[in-house]
Structures are given as structure tokens and as C-alpha cells.
């Protein structure tokens, strides 16, 4: 039993703290996250988040690859939303090159990003519900994720690590009939979201398990650097798609859902509404898809002028930013740095779990939606 023993005074009976290791091999830490919990009974007194088990040195590796090769490395960061990572990187380089991307390419990027958001949220709703014990939602969500993977496979040939973007545009145009399939998928998904919500949103146990768990106010969430749905759940309407539009988001009409209470339930509701908003964007982009070229005027040898730039996009997890420095001499970036949303959100975990029970730790890890590939890079 516990070898580390600390005695709590103050209470009438002295109690021992139990230190347990959650992870890196644990069914609910979504990969290889390790959380060292200090427990008083089942109550979490404190926790340490240990990361780095999936570190592959992607940032350093990128400094030794040429600009086109890096796209493939960005796949391996947030591997459940590889397309958004691709888009984010390509746009950063385009900004550095001051390259104009054709409108059609920007529209297709928007469709891909939003499909990817739905796929990522499917995985999130499935695993989050599974962590809280509702196993069926997981299978349902994966059923629909499968449809998206099929769409991606048809577009770029891969199902997980897509390598689906090129600097300046798209690797190839969308296949014939693809747009129709996307619209069909939108119709299916609209019904399925209601199905998930039927199982969870008004479920009494779900409400009891998520309401009032991990409450965090807007100010504090900003202070901790939370982003994406985790921040919007606390009532801060920060969305890169609206605030600093990229791809074709400035031409799209959509809402940014925000929560009020800042608890696990509100973060859940925000993401569920994002499903619907994503579908809305996909419909608009697919129906209004312009004709035209798919690649801009890309120089044969990509070699940006000396300078640095930061560009962020809204990945399913939050603000995914790339900071790239070019020295203007070599064909590699001089410095390559990623601001991964999962990493920033994970910073909040310690604050969120304190005072809750073990079962809530699992719910909270699910509610901030992390992917360890992106945290460790």
C-alpha cells in the first residue's frame, strides 16, 4: 500500500494521503498521460500532470526538413484532427511567402477543417461519455466518424494521417461526386447528433456527473491559457475563425456557442452545438463552392525571405498556432514552434481537479479534450 505517507492534521481523525499513479497506462488518460494523484479517501487533494511519453521532437525535426516535407510531420501532432494541423501549417507558410491562395482551395480547406472538427468531436463525445460510463455513445460516434474517414480517404487516400494540404493550395481537386456525398453526410449527421444528445443531454446521471464539476470562470480560464471549447464553456466568445478569419471563414455565416457556468456540462454543450455549426459551415461551403484553380502561384523552390510569423487557426481543441522563423538562406525553417491547444488546456487540469473525486478526474480529462500526440509533439 502507500509507501509515501503524509498525515493530515486539522481533521479530528488523522488521515493518510494515498498517492496513486493514473497512467501512463490507464484506460481513461487518452493515451499516455500520467497524472499523479494525491488522495484523501477518494478526494483529490492535489495532482501532478506528467507529460512527455509521446515526445518525438517534431519541432526540432521540422527545422531539418524542407518546407513541403513538414506538412507530413504536422499530421502526427493532433492525429485525430490531422487536416486542421495541415491547414494551419500551410497557411503560416503562405503568410510568410505572402502567397495568394485561390478561392476554391480556401473553400475546400474550410470544408475539410469542419469535417475534421466533426470527426474530432465524435471521438471526443465517444470517449468522454465512455469515461463516465455510457459506452453506447462511443460506438455511435465512431460509426459516424467512419463516414468522415471515408470522405477523407476518397479525397486524399488516407484515413488518419492525411498529408492533405500543400503550400499554396490543394494537392488535387476534389473527386467528382464528392461534394454530393459531403452534403449527404451532413443530412445523416444532423440526425445522429440528436441521437447522441438524446442519450446524454437530459440524462439525469449525466447531469449529475457533469454539472458543477471543474467550474472555472472566464477570467481564470484566460489566465490559465485555456482555449477552444474549454474557454468558450466559461463564457468567453473567443474563436479564431471569427476573430482572425482564415481559409474562407470570413464568407461563412455561423455562430460561436458559449457556455455560462464554465463546468463540464457547459463545455459538453458547447461542443455539441459546434457539431451543428460545423455542419452549417460545411453546407454553405459545399453549396457555394466556386470554380477555379486549386493552387496559387507557388515558386518552384520554396524559400521564404528572412522573417518570422505567427499564424493561428481554430483546431477542434482550440487555438492551434505556428510560429515560424525563416533565415532566408536555407530551404528549412530556422525555428519552428507550435502552440498546441491540448498542451495549453492541459495546464488547467491541476486547477480543475483539485477537490473533486477520482471519478471526476476522468470526466475532466475528457472534458478538456486532449490528444497526447499534440501535447508531447
Amino acid at each position: 500500500m502507500s509507501t509515501e505517507r503524509a498525515v493530515h492534521h486539522g481533521a479530528m481523525f488523522d488521515t493518510d494521503e494515498l498517492v496513486i499513479n493514473m497512467g501512463p497506462q490507464h484506460p481513461s488518460t487518452h493515451g499516455v498521460l500520467r497524472v499523479v494523484l494525491r488522495l484523501d479517501g477518494e478526494k483529490v487533494v492535489d495532482c501532478d500532470v506528467v507529460i512527455g511519453y509521446l515526445h518525438r521532437g517534431i519541432e526540432k525535426l521540422s527545422e531539418n526538413r524542407n518546407w513541403t516535407q513538414i506538412v507530413l510531420l504536422t499530421d502526427r501532432m493532433d492525429y485525430v484532427a490531422a487536416a486542421t494541423s495541415n491547414v494551419g501549417y500551410c497557411e503560416t507558410v503562405e503568410k510568410l511567402l505572402q502567397l495568394e491562395v485561390p478561392r476554391r482551395a480556401r473553400y475546400v480547406r474550410t470544408i475539410l477543417c469542419e469535417l475534421q472538427r466533426i470527426a474530432s468531436h465524435c471521438l471526443w463525445v465517444g470517449t468522454h461519455a465512455m469515461d463516465i460510463g455510457a459506452m453506447t455513445v462511443f460506438l455511435y460516434a465512431f460509426r459516424e466518424r467512419e463516414l468522415i474517414l471515408d470522405l477523407f480517404e476518397e479525397f486524399c487516400g488516407a484515413r488518419l494521417t492525411y498529408n492533405s494540404m500543400r503550400i499554396g493550395g490543394l494537392p488535387q481537386d476534389i473527386p467528382p461526386g464528392w461534394a454530393k456525398k459531403v452534403l449527404e453526410f451532413c443530412d445523416i449527421m444532423t440526425q445522429k447528433i440528436d441521437e447522441y444528445e438524446e442519450l446524454l443531454t437530459h440524462n439525469r446521471i449525466w447531469l449529475e456527473r457533469t454539472k458543477g464539476i471543474g467550474v472555472i470562470g472566464g477570467e481564470e480560464a484566460i489566465g490559465l491559457g485555456l482555449c477552444g471549447p474549454a474557454l468558450r464553456g466559461s463564457g468567453v466568445a473567443r474563436d479564431v475563425r471569427k476573430d482572425e478569419p482564415y481559409a474562407a471563414y470570413d464568407e461563412m455565416d455561423f455562430d460561436v456557442p458559449v457556455g455560462t457556468a464554465g463546468d463540464t456540462y457547459d463545455r459538453y454543450l458547447v461542443r455539441m452545438e459546434e457539431f451543428r455549426q460545423s455542419l452549417r459551415i460545411i453546407r454553405q461551403a459545399t453549396e457555394g463552392l466556386p470554380e477555379g484553380p486549386i493552387v496559387g502561384k507557388v515558386p518552384r523552390l520554396i524559400k521564404p525571405a528572412a522573417g518570422e510569423t505567427y499564424h493561428a487557426i481554430e483546431s477542434p481543441k482550440g487555438e492551434l498556432g505556428y510560429f515560424i522563423v525563416s533565415d532566408g538562406k536555407s530551404t528549412n525553417p530556422y525555428r519552428f514552434r507550435v502552440r498546441p491547444p491540448s498542451f495549453c488546456n492541459l495546464q488547467g487540469l491541476r486547477r480543475l481537479v483539485r477537490g473533486h473525486l477520482i471519478a471526476d478526474v476522468v470526466a475532466l480529462i475528457g472534458s478538456i479534450d486532449i490528444v497526447l500526440g499534440e501535447v508531447d509533439r
Binding site: 500500500m1 479530528m12 481523525f13 493518510d16
Partner: protein, 172 residues
């Protein structure tokens, strides 16, 4: 004859496990022997035809109270060597004195039983019970002849329960 054999076997087990309860060093094992002890006491009740009492013995003692013992023993984690052996306040003489007193008392009861065999067997007014069946008889006796002791016992339990809550929860 068979009943006598069964009785002696069960009684021997009860005594044997009783000794193991106090002689085992591991607290959890000791509690487990206590459970076995209770189960054999229940078997003894069955032998006496008191099935209701046997079931209650298992339900309340083996299944309820000892689970709580186990709960506490596991929580306080007595893997450390027991400190009682170095207890300076140990009242060895008093202990032996009390043990001797109990022994004498047991001897006296046994001697009395031999001297007045009829008194030991005389059942108290069984004939007056108008109901048949084990459970019914227990119920009848509890709510007629033994009503006041029964109510006092429940009061006592209530007081103990409130006391435990007050002790455990300082600010209510």
C-alpha cells in the same frame, strides 16, 4: 447421536477459530477467523432448530458488522508491527485475575448444571405461545414477554448511532 457428534465438531471449530482470532498476528486474518466463528455459531443455531436466529446471525454479524470491522482495519492499515507488546501500562496481574474469575464462574455454572440438571432444560413458558413456526415464535416473544428489553436495546442503538455521528462530524 449424530446430533451430538455435529455439536461437538461445531463447538470445537468455534473454540478453535476463537483462539485463532486472538492469536493471529495479521489483523485482517483475525477478522476473517471471526467471520468463520460467526458462521459456525450460525450452524449451531441450525442444529438447535433456530433457523431464524441462524439467518439473522449470518446477516447481521457475518455479513454486516464484520464487514465494517474489515473496512476499518483496511483503512487504518495495520501493516506496521503492533506496538501493544511494548505497552508500559500493561496490567498483567489484573488480566490474570480477571481470567481466573471468569474461569471460576464457568466452573461454577458447570457444577451447578450437574447438580440441578432439570433447571437447565426447563424452557420458559413455551406452551403459552399461540403461534407455531420459528420466526413467529421469536416475534411473539419479542413483542410480549421481552418488549421492554427489546425497546431499550433499540434506544441504546439509536443513542450509539447519534453518538457516532456527533463524534465523526464535529460541525453539523
Amino acid at each position: 447421536m449424530a446430533q451430538a457428534i455435529a455439536f461437538y465438531v461445531i463447538a470445537a471449530c468455534i473454540l478453535g477459530f476463537g483462539v485463532l482470532v486472538i492469536s493471529t498476528r495479521d489483523t485482517v486474518h483475525s477478522v476473517l477467523f471471526l467471520v468463520l466463528d460467526f458462521l459456525f455459531v450460525a450452524a449451531l443455531y441450525v442444529l438447535l432448530g433456530a433457523q431464524f436466529l441462524a439467518a439473522i446471525q449470518v446477516l447481521v454479524y457475518a455479513g454486516g458488522i464484520v464487514v465494517l470491522y474489515l473496512f476499518v482495519v483496511m483503512l487504518v492499515n495495520l501493516k506496521r508491527p503492533p506496538e501493544a507488546h511494548q505497552d508500559p501500562h500493561r496490567q498483567t496481574k489484573l488480566g490474570f485475575g480477571l481470567a481466573a474469575a471468569v474461569l471460576v464462574e464457568l466452573g461454577a455454572i458447570a457444577a451447578y448444571g450437574y447438580a440441578h440438571p432439570a433447571a437447565a432444560i426447563a424452557a420458559p413458558a413455551t406452551a403459552a405461545i399461540p403461534v407455531s413456526g420459528n420466526t413467529e415464535q421469536v416475534g411473539w416473544l419479542l413483542y410480549t414477554s421481552y418488549l421492554i428489553p427489546f425497546e431499550i436495546a433499540s434506544m441504546l442503538l439509536l443513542v450509539a448511532m447519534i453518538g457516532a455521528i456527533v463524534l465523526a462530524k464535529r460541525e453539523l
